[in-house]
Symmetry: C2
Subunit: 152 residues, 2 copies
């Protein structure tokens, strides 16, 4: 992927890729075992008596898998450096066997007033399952750098 | 911990606990190896030439560790079920060896109009390091359930 700099970015631009991530039951249970030990994330049997009634991935597992996809989809020159996230939502849970992909749209690009070498790009990121249903939406603010200038 | 129901919650309430989570270099690298393969999260040497100039934890690792702490701090009756997060910020990165703890404050409690058995609790969650510095702040909307009524 060609590196993208601050001046290459504009509102309305869309970034997608062929990157896909499969979330299977063992990975759901492994993530939950370390970070989110609740019955609806740990095993199928104990999930039946819960709000979800079945095994579902932790929302924080969904964000982590989304990060895998962001790296493969948005080729910012210095990597993906987030300063913050707004409106993170999980409209439906990720289920065992789901295959996720990412759709990114640039909302806004703001050069920094204090740091001339960089700025902020505000991006709407939608994580979709294999049925093209959104499993996660968020608005992320990322650091973007200007292309280095050669000496005249 | 005694279970907390919707009617037990009120704005201004604070939940804290003795729960602590140590984030060491191997766990930073392991999380990044699976979910966030960028040089500033993967090893000390390659981190030196980056924006951070040293190894730091992925922000999504910080959210995942925070989830560990939420479960141990906020005793909602049916578990921690998030519908969304607003204003997620990482004011400073988590560094190898940091010990994290959680401070939760209830902002608002809203009974559901459609589902009389439950409502939403809006909580400000601050993740602090061993120097009492915030490494993460977020506002989370969680599902809270009413205490079951006995038959009269």
């Amino acid at each position: 992927m060609e590196k993208t700099f601050l001046e290459d970015l504009a509102p309305g631009q869309v970034f997608t890729s062929d990157a896909r991530a499969v979330v299977d039951a063992p990975s759901i249970k492994r993530f939950a075992g370390e970070f989110d030990q609740q019955p609806f994330h740990l095993d199928e049997a104990s999930a039946q008596d819960t709000f979800f009634k079945k095994l579902v991935a932790s929302g924080w597992h969904t964000t982590a898998v989304t990060m895998q996809l962001i790296i493969k989809t948005l080729p910012l020159s210095h990597g993906i450096i987030g300063t913050g996230v707004d409106e993170l939502r999980w409209p439906r849970p990720v289920k065992p066997g789901d295959t996720l992909r990412l759709h990114c749209e640039v909302i806004d690009v703001t050069p920094s007033k204090l740091e001339p070498s960089r700025g902020t790009v505000r991006v709407r990121m939608t994580t979709l399952n294999q049925h093209d249903q959104a499993v996660q939406t968020m608005i992320a603010n990322l650091v973007a750098f200007r292309r280095p200038q050669r000496a005249a």
